[in-house]
Subunit: 133 residues, 6 copies
Amino acid sequence: MYAVEVSDHIMIAHSFRGEVFGPAQRLHGATFAVSAAFLAQALDRDGIVVDIGRAFAALKEVLAPLNYRNLDDMSEFKSVNTTTEFLTRHVFEGLAAAVKSGRLGRDGREIAAIRVTVAESPSARAWYEGALW
Amino acid sequence: MYAVEVSDHIMIAHSFRGEVFGPAQRLHGATFAVSAAFLAQALDRDGIVVDIGRAFAALKEVLAPLNYRNLDDMSEFKSVNTTTEFLTRHVFEGLAAAVKSGRLGRDGREIAAIRVTVAESPSARAWYEGALW
Amino acid sequence: MYAVEVSDHIMIAHSFRGEVFGPAQRLHGATFAVSAAFLAQALDRDGIVVDIGRAFAALKEVLAPLNYRNLDDMSEFKSVNTTTEFLTRHVFEGLAAAVKSGRLGRDGREIAAIRVTVAESPSARAWYEGALW
Amino acid sequence: MYAVEVSDHIMIAHSFRGEVFGPAQRLHGATFAVSAAFLAQALDRDGIVVDIGRAFAALKEVLAPLNYRNLDDMSEFKSVNTTTEFLTRHVFEGLAAAVKSGRLGRDGREIAAIRVTVAESPSARAWYEGALW
Amino acid sequence: MYAVEVSDHIMIAHSFRGEVFGPAQRLHGATFAVSAAFLAQALDRDGIVVDIGRAFAALKEVLAPLNYRNLDDMSEFKSVNTTTEFLTRHVFEGLAAAVKSGRLGRDGREIAAIRVTVAESPSARAWYEGALW
Amino acid sequence: MYAVEVSDHIMIAHSFRGEVFGPAQRLHGATFAVSAAFLAQALDRDGIVVDIGRAFAALKEVLAPLNYRNLDDMSEFKSVNTTTEFLTRHVFEGLAAAVKSGRLGRDGREIAAIRVTVAESPSARAWYEGALW
């Protein structure tokens, strides 16, 4: 299996509900370093998994609505904790939609899976990997 | 599959038996940068894989008996080479026990697997990944 | 000149006032990876610049009041922008006080200077270096 | 599953054919940071996956013909784009041959798979993972 | 002294003249990870050294003519070896001009110095630091 | 001022004398990631500070006697604590001798200073910088 992975980052504020979060129940923030890997069984005729420029653009497009925001204020996140894990899946869903709509520049069915990794600090990160079909 | 990974490090001395190890047969040492990833099919109701604070604590608890030690002097390692690979499994077993006893703060059966990565230098590392059930 | 540098991190929320900040005028957040270097002309009789354990403790003590906080809510920061640059100096002042009070475990006069580096993302960081005497 | 991974790097020039590559159709170059991971179900009697010294040597041997070269000038690459993805597979094939010929110092059949990761920049990388048998 | 540092990268081809360069006399290439630090004695009234957005833009503007190029083909580099060290100074000169022309958004005279760091691989880098006035 | 910096690493065992060291008084070990920077006011006629190949060789030569050793057993270190700080100076002295004897391939008097940085873990490092003349 081949993979191509591109990285970007966002800076957000948020707070969590639940005793398990301790001081992170207070409004705080994070720099999330986000990597998106696209997996495929074979390279296309150009010798690539996906166009790396389009991969960067797709990741940036998914991240843009979150960047420099207080996630607590966004209606779509009203009923959830926007944990690092939760955001890996959120980014995955946005990228999966981009692949399926053909925006990555290759027949989306040739992309088998996506893995999204989000580092919240030098010592903690999360990832989500899922098949697309 | 979701994962949450936390990192810590230990500083140990040890030596290896076997010609294959060359100069590493002499007593030497290493800083081991250790990452432990906990994998689960679904997030819990708080939106997490495991409480990151408990994950750090479990990793520290498994590493503590090794830190600032000469592993050659520890009776449990008498008959083995404490290679980087060996230690990935040793840490895995300690964390697996923590998960199964419920110390990670979630029904252990919801944690599917653990991956332990140990970097011994900027250019070499090892990992062990195993299912828990 | 010798230096010993230790690192830690904090996760905070804040916003900035001033058109120059663009979208960062909105409430957002950051993971700040903070490194503190202590500089000295000579090692002490134990062969160290400062006790690394005390250096970690001093850095943690200075960072603790900021961690998991919205800096906009802290009275001491009411009239300033808590930029990455500003925070390098804030941490410097806290560490300078620790050195001067002898809390680093060595005659503070033997510590010549401190450099504080704060990384806000994989592609941007700031530092402040100042003499202590 | 256990893995041992070693890293090295090469500095090459090349160009790509195809509109998708935009400015990378021009002759340019890259530092490729290459990591090779060898995967095995069990450790050998020395407690290792493979001898790390031999792993470094095998990786260096596969990379040497590429280092400080213009890949466009190499006859074996005449009809292909030497993309980062393509090179992950090229290195994989060279290492697979080394394993199968016994040059890694262990019965090659005990090495289950190889993963080759190639980073082209701080924000983009590719990998290829394949079973050996 | 305060500093703010931003990072970007370029991918270039080139070759060197001189026996000292060994195999690097052949046409090869590099990914150069470039960091530019702007140093100032004091923060401005917004609490910054320079606007980080303008700093990124200035660095990108200086790097753009080099990116995805064979430096051997550029007339301005005809008589020189475009070593990593040489390029640190080249980028420094471009950024110094940007500061002096006021493009960094602050009275250029308040920027005391610039340090440009260029990493050519995980194990080698160069930097140039110079005063501006 | 220009600088060229190269990196390597060693794996050693040692112990410290003095209550300040706490558990590090026990025999333990470390991977030391060592960087050596050579500083010069001007580039030579080839456009370099020093030949990077010779710089790597000089660093390796200074580190070799320490690698895979228990520093407590080395007679030259009998009366000292081989702390990270101490080792930065030890490596500096070895490299200074190499420069002064002309082994770096340039009139040693043109190298103004050397800075040696030693990282003992992901969160702690030390450096020593000294003028050569």
